[in-house]
């Protein structure tokens, strides 16, 4: 009988126990090694206890695997208290018999060692805890306290070795926490006993910004992510940010979204942005970038889409108030639950953490549009070299989720308008630049489209006006005096209008004159006509008189002839 290849071990996947912790299962490719111990180590306050606790709670609630929490430091009540603030109802789980706590406390001061002993009591207690709930998952937090409780290290070490073997034999998935030592993973060398999986947690402060990171140091018999991944602890527990190594395989949409500004739609091929594209709006301070974003948000909410606005400069109230002055009521969308403005200080935590927060918010809120205002501030939260790759991940993440991203970038005045500080321009599909045009003692705004992939877009600079009714784009005046904006444009337009009026008047004057001349000619024609008529009349009268006279003469002659009785004379 030939065994299938997968059963020989090479291709057989290691059985794993999913942790249920967001992101951790991704980097461990499915969870912790089932039925084996995993060491979670790190310095004080790095989140070991929480990770262990969440592993148990999620096991009990999501995977129907009861858990036993053996604590050597805090009491079970203290632990329950700590995680209750994270929204885990530990008491209910304990009452349901899905979770059990045992606090093992060893106080050296009240113990005298006389003769030989072993730690069978520890085994019995752990065994009892496991049996009482039928635990599949066990946490030992932090065993190192035992090292201060006993003086016979040889006994302790051999007993620990026996303990881990025993736990393996019982088939429970175990998490052992350990304090980070100087130059070693754990102070007491616990990693010697746990050879299957070691996870290192780290809480680092770099340039006064703290970031939590997790790394799978070793995971025997399986592939795993080897990088350091930032993670986050908040009211939903831990979430690890798997740094996606995205290919460029995301699907794209042909759907077009209105920018919320009519003229801008026409500039972008008449229809606006593509859905799921990344839009960069860059410009100097006060050039109206946020307004462009607000218009887009407003338009999206009008379509009934959900929008997530990550503000790193202004508070939600401030944004709502400022946009109201332009006639955009964002509050109504917030009230309807379509818009969520998340404001935080860029320096509040590291860039990775911002990304982790964004991940979580996107997962929770499921938006169609994400606005980041501004990305330049975000970059100041971390080191400059990390910022670029981080934004890449952010954009990648949004793209792969088919979420339209609008990134606002504040450029500093001295630099070229076309350079982004963080160098993300190559990832951007549509890039709008708002620049100030300083001419004639004023500063006016101009807007143009640097690029817009996959659509015909205008190459024109438009003057960008922020009015009570939102943004308006006007043609700039291009004349013999160059490109004019603002009041110069208005003056130029007024001049043009005056010229037009003048021309109109001239035309009217000329028309009137011609009319007059025509009327005069008509008068002359009428006079001549009447003269002509008079002459004609006279001629007719003359002719008539001649006829009458001839007739009379003939009559007279006939009468005379009759009188004379003369013979006929032919005339």
């Amino acid at each position: 009988m030939s065994k299938p290849a997968s059963a020989t071990g090479a291709g057989r996947p290691l059985p794993k126990a999913p942790t249920g912790i967001t992101g951790l299962d991704e980097i461990t490719r499915g969870g912790l090694p089932r039925g084996r111990p995993t060491l979670v180590c790190g310095s004080a306050g790095c989140g070991k206890t929480l990770l262990a606790m969440e592993f148990l709670i999620r096991g009990a609630t999501e995977f129907d695997e009861p858990g036993a929490y053996i604590t050597f430091e805090e009491t079970g009540e203290e632990l329950a208290q700590n995680v209750r603030s994270l929204g885990f109802d530990v008491d209910a789980l304990v009452a349901d018999g899905k979770l059990v706590f045992d606090h093992i406390h060893v106080d050296r001061r009240e113990i005298e060692e006389v003769g030989e002993y072993d730690l069978e009591g520890l085994f019995l207690r752990i065994g009892f805890a496991i049996d009482s709930v039928g635990a599949k998952r066990v946490v030992l937090d932090t065993m190192e306290s035992l090292f201060s409780g006993f003086s016979d290290m040889a006994v302790l070490r051999s007993e620990l070795q026996r303990l881990f073997r025993w736990l393996k034999d019982r088939g429970v998935t175990t998490v052992i926490t350990g304090e980070r030592g100087d130059g070693t993973l754990t102070r007491q060398g616990l990693e010697e006993y746990v050879s299957d999986c070691v996870i290192l947690l780290d809480h680092r402060v770099q340039e006064q910004v703290s970031t939590r990171r997790v790394r799978v140091v070793k995971y025997r018999g399986t592939a795993h992510g080897t990088n350091e991944y930032p993670f986050l602890i908040d009211e939903q527990g831990i979430s690890v940010l798997p740094v996606t190594s995205l290919g460029l395989a995301h699907t794209v949409s042909d759907e077009r979204l209105s920018t919320g500004i009519d003229r801008l739609d026409t500039m972008l091929g008449g229809k606006g942005y593509y859905r799921g594209s990344s839009i960069l709006v860059s410009g100097t301070a006060g050039s109206g970038k946020t307004s462009i974003a607000a218009h887009f948000v407003d338009a999206a909410c009008r379509r009934g889409e959900r929008c997530l606005y990550l503000a790193y400069e202004e508070s939600p109230h401030q944004i709502v108030r400022n946009m109201r002055s332009q006639g955009i009521d964002l509050q109504q969308w917030i009230d309807k639950g379509l818009l969520h403005i998340e404001a935080s200080r860029p320096g509040f935590y590291g860039m990775e953490m911002h990304l982790a927060v964004m991940h979580r918010l996107v997962r929770k809120f499921d938006p169609g549009l994400v606005v980041v205002d501004p990305i330049s501030n975000l970059a100041s939260a971390g080191t400059a070299d990390g910022a670029g790759s981080l934004l890449l991940r952010m954009i990648d993440f949004l793209k792969s989720s088919s979420i339209t991203a609008m990134l606002v970038n504040l450029t500093s005045g001295g630099k070229s308008q076309e350079a982004t500080d963080i160098g993300v321009s190559s990832l951007i599909d549509t890039w709008l630049v708002v620049r100030d045009i300083e001419v004639g003692g004023e500063r006016n705004r101009g807007l143009y489209v640097i690029k817009s992939r996959g659509m015909k877009h205008s190459n024109q600079v438009r003057e960008f006006l922020i009015t009570d009714n939102g943004i308006q784009l006007e043609d700039v005046y291009i004349g013999p005096e160059g490109v004019l904006t603002g009041s110069l444009r208005l003056a130029q337009e007024a001049r043009a209008r005056a010229e037009a009026v003048e021309q109109q008047q001239q035309r009217e004057r000329r028309q009137r004159e011609l009319e007059r001349r025509r009327a005069a000619l008509e008068g002359q024609i009428a006079a001549l006509r009447s003269e002509f008529d008079a002459i004609e009349e006279e001629a007719r009268i003359v002719a008539e008189q001649g006829l009458v006279r001839d007739r009379a003469r003939l009559q007279d002659r006939a009468a005379a002839e009759a009188l004379r009785g003369a013979d006929r004379v032919e005339e």
Partner: protein
Amino acid sequence: MNEPAQAAADAETWELRLYTAGQSPKSVAAFQNLKRICDEHLKDRYTIDVIDLMQNPRLAREDQIVAIPTLVRRLPDPLRKIIGDLSDTERTLVGLQLRRRD
């Protein structure tokens, strides 16, 4: 010599508890050693309660038992714990405060 600990010990009944795990050699040795020491130093003034954690693991919680065997002096106050097979009589007496540490 009339030591204070000795004086206090004389007045009361001693309540001792020995935690064992089945009939392991260490547990058996501890019980025998304890019995011998008590007969010698606390004649008729002691009770020994042997608790087999194999039978009743839940009882390990109350006295925070980790090592086996563990002897707990419940009375007189204060609570004392001695772990090991009690093979060293002198140190056991010190641990039980029946003899001052020299």
